[in-house]
């Protein structure tokens, strides 16, 4: 699965994008965030407060309990501040 990071999530993780082999048992957006949080110091800081990290699945806003179910692309980012 392709994972993208934006804004301060990207800065803390230290990369814009990567391919992740999603382990068995990781079935929702929240599961994936928890899995990523354990991948190292930068990830731990990016996901230290999972409630403020938003996600999109295949370029649509997703909730923590949204199933990953076959999505090709997932993105994690802070609350949006455009406009």
């Amino acid at each position: 699965m392709k994972v993208l990071y934006f804004a301060w999530v990207r800065e803390r993780v230290g990369r814009e994008t990567e391919e992740i082999a999603v382990p068995e048992g990781v079935t929702t957006v929240a599961d994936l965030a928890a899995f990523l949080k354990g991948r190292g110091e930068g990830y731990a800081r990016a996901f230290e407060n999972p409630r403020v990290v938003r996600a999109a699945l295949d370029r649509r806003h997703a909730k923590p309990d949204t199933p990953l179910a076959g999505a090709r692309e997932v993105a994690f980012f802070p609350p949006m501040t455009g406009g």
Binding site: F6, A56, P78, P79, M80, T81, G82, G83
Partner: protein, 152 residues
């Protein structure tokens, strides 16, 4: 006619409004909103030098298009154009343009405000502020969430 453009270059609000009315006789109202980069916020910190807008390519355009389509189900819009810039902007620069057209002003005003309110909380853009003392990511405002939520 619904148009979304995500671009680094500036836009011409008057030309975009004219493009939505040219050759038509059914448009009775055009509302044009332009959001600009400003130097000072209400809290009076160090003046802003520049804003850098990061976006999620692909999703930014798709999400704004979904918002316009939602506006089109709520109000009898004849047209809408949204242009959102990305990259580095200095105070005085344009950031975002919303143009709506309808037969009557009520729908055009309401749809433009709805689009701006929803765009601020749903379109995948993030502002990095550059000030004399430091650079920092802008935090989302509760007042923006409240503005979006009042539309139900």
């Amino acid at each position: 006619m619904f148009t979304v453009r995500i671009q680094s270059e500036d836009f011409d609000a008057a030309a975009e409004a004219a493009a939505l009315t040219r050759g038509r006789t059914d448009v009775g109202a055009v509302v044009t909103f332009t959001g600009l980069c400003r130097a000072q916020d209400a809290t009076g910190g160090a003046p802003l030098i520049a804003l850098t807008l990061e976006h999620y390519p692909g999703m930014a355009e798709e999400e704004i298009r979904r918002l316009i389509e939602e506006a089109g189900t709520r109000w009898p819009l004849l047209g809408a154009t949204v242009i959102h810039r990305y990259g580095r902007m200095v105070p005085g620069d344009n950031i975002v343009l919303v143009v709506t057209t309808s037969s009557h002003r009520g729908a055009a005003f309401a749809a433009a405000e709805f689009l701006m309110d929803w765009l601020k909380t749903r379109a995948p853009f993030w502002k990095l502020e550059e000030r004399e003392d430091a650079s920092s990511w802008v935090a989302a405002k509760d007042t923006d969430d409240e503005a979006a939520e009042r539309w139900g």
